[in-house]
Symmetry: C2
């Protein structure tokens, strides 16, 4: 086990009805005037907007609004929010929605207290202070409600993508009513489940020895996500399945699963390239890339992949040929991806096999470039071969 | 799944060498003068005292000391500590040790800011503020390093035992170097492992439906504790086994395992009675009581006990007779208890079968009295019959 620091001070108020505590929680964490950050219309349909506004009103906390945050949120909304916070004397940022609203709120909260350009924090500067951020979660996927990360795309010229991670970005509270997620379209439910599954897998596939308890927690989360995602697809109003998914989404990415071990993140890196080039949902590019990555790196540690197959999917261990058990685990994962209605091939997300060199070249232009991945270093050729596997 | 609140803001600095951050962490959480609280001589032998003092000195933070805290810590030391804090202008309480030092530090930290008798908080008042408490952990057992609980015994006349639980008592940081625990005597290692196992089991045996992910996390922790405790007994210097146990001890009692579900705690209640009457270690009374409690309540939900047997001990499910599988789980637990060198019968902790009525009567005198237990309500007769089972 490696040394680690873990600090997740977020207060979770979980369950149907807990949204009524929103105003009280804002006050508890020092808020007297709020910027309410949200995306499109879904929070008006599922009631989250009305509930949050009513709770703030009951607590006597005034608020201003910043709506219209897009998926893969852009810097424009961040600048707009920082301006609003300063003009209106806002001291608390409340995100109502999913990862895009939350990541925007985090950037605004840090940027408001900084004299320079907030984008500095997404390139070279470490943030050391922030307005408090609260969350009313309406989507189980990114885990941003308790994570130290925020991802923003900058709009000047070609799109640059900034991903930062430090505990300053952890929200002070997250109100989590699984009921809000019952009205999600099936495809979004599926993409969210794939995203949280991947957050666990990126941590699970490790080169670190002696990681018993985090292995077990990862396996428990994966089993829970796999079974409850199918239940939520079958019956969108299944509160308990939605609740399991919502709590798993948080634990999958607050780093409980990742402490004391090297992590991988190669599938996320490649998925981001695909999402950028083909405007495909993050969960959908993950479902294409992940099994291909597994297939490609399996030989580096067949025993770990066999452990995944046995403990997560209940496969029988072939003690003489662990690589066969490992292979069975990958097939079972693909079967689940299909059952969830998610894509498995490049073609299904509109990517062409002929474009593979362009995808690799696109990645090459990024700072960091190659190699990436903690479990197995992925160089240019490796990425091309993984994408070839995903093309079949 | 039930609604829940979960708030564990403790910062964990985990691993060999992290103790050097102690002074820096005290400063980060606002400490400028420290009360160092500890027990007997073990922290002088394992180096924890010297390391903490050196780190505080390096950070330029002055400290005063309160040593000699006993197991099952008493109110006398708390009053002494409160006096010291006030006289010396202390603004941070640092516990170096295990549960007793930590629980004493928590009581002092709350009591220092209160004009009345700190004991009020252990009887009828809810604490709402506290000096910050930090921990340098040297023993894996109680989980007090991140829990919202503190247990103190009052010394006036007959001993009264106060157990409180509120987030105000969560330490702000815990420095956790598993190396410190390598020098523990085997019996103390065993008792600690039984204590943390029980903290999980008290949460695992529930009447709440749809608790998939917490079930899985509980099972993962139990499996990790069972296997690594045996490794630590076999080879006390096994750093990785010590590390697994130390992190499990924290997660077993910070309530990650207990959110969203009804909990039991009957075995802990009965164990406290035995510890009080026979001055036996908490872990040893738990190892006597727990299998007897399981045997007695098994019929209320054989499927849950069978799940425990299958998932934690790898028993084969007997689908026609789940109660047989359940029974096998209890036998496997007893086998582990024996392998750990822990007692299984009243006689081994010096208790007589003839004293059972006195034990029940002792419990009767407590506020709350009977029934207790969330999984199955335990009345006077039930407690007597459970103790009878433990007498065999």
């Amino acid at each position: 086990m490696l040394n680690f620091s873990f600090h997740c001070p977020t207060l979770f108020a979980f369950g149907d009805g807990e949204e009524q505590r929103t105003g009280e929680l804002v006050r508890r964490f020092g808020g007297t005037k709020v910027l309410l950050v949200y995306g499109g219309g879904s929070i008006f349909k599922n009631g989250a907007y009305d509930d949050a506004a009513a709770s703030l009103n009951r607590a006597g906390i005034p608020f201003v609004e910043l709506g219209g945050v897009q998926p893969n949120p852009r810097s424009g909304k961040v600048y707009e929010g920082i301006g609003l916070c300063r003009a209106e004397g806002v001291d608390f940022v409340l995100a109502v929605g999913g990862g895009s609203a939350i990541d925007t709120a985090k950037a605004i909260a840090v940027g408001t207290l900084y004299e320079g350009d907030f984008w500095d924090f997404y390139t070279h500067k470490a943030a050391d202070k922030s307005l408090p951020v609260g969350v009313v979660l309406t989507l189980s996927a990114t885990g941003s409600e308790a994570s130290p990360s925020t991802v923003i795309t900058h709009e000047n010229g070609d799109l640059k993508w900034g991903n930062v991670k430090t505990d300053v970005y952890r929200p002070v509270f997250a109100v989590m009513n699984p009921r809000y997620t019952c009205s999600l379209p099936p495809y979004q439910t599926a993409c969210g489940a794939m995203d949280m599954l991947s957050h666990v897998m990126e941590r699970y596939f490790t080169t670190t020895d002696h990681v018993d308890v985090t292995d077990r927690i990862c396996e428990g989360l994966m089993q829970t996500i796999l079974s409850n995602a199918l239940k939520a697809m079958e019956n969108p109003d299944d509160y308990n399945a939605r609740a399991e998914l919502m709590w798993c989404g948080t634990l999958a990415h607050n780093n409980l699963c990742g402490v004391g071990r090297a992590q991988d993140w190669a599938s996320h890196q490649m998925s981001h390239e695909l999402s950028a080039l083909y405007d495909s949902a993050h969960g959908a590019t993950l479902s294409v890339i992940t099994p291909a990555w597994m297939q490609y790196v399996l030989h580096r540690d067949p025993q770990r992949f066999a452990q995944f197959a046995v403990r997560v999917f209940g496969c029988q261990m072939d003690f003489h040929h662990p690589e066969l058990t490992a292979q069975e685990g990958i097939e079972r994962l693909k079967h689940w991806i299909r059952a969830m209605g998610l894509p498995l091939t490049l073609k299904e997300i509109g990517a062409l096999q002929d474009d593979i060199p362009a995808m690799v070249a696109h990645r090459m232009k990024k700072p960091g470039g190659f190699p990436f991945g903690g479990f197995a270093p992925i160089h240019e050729t490796d990425m091309a071969l993984i994408l070839e596997l995903a093309a079949r």
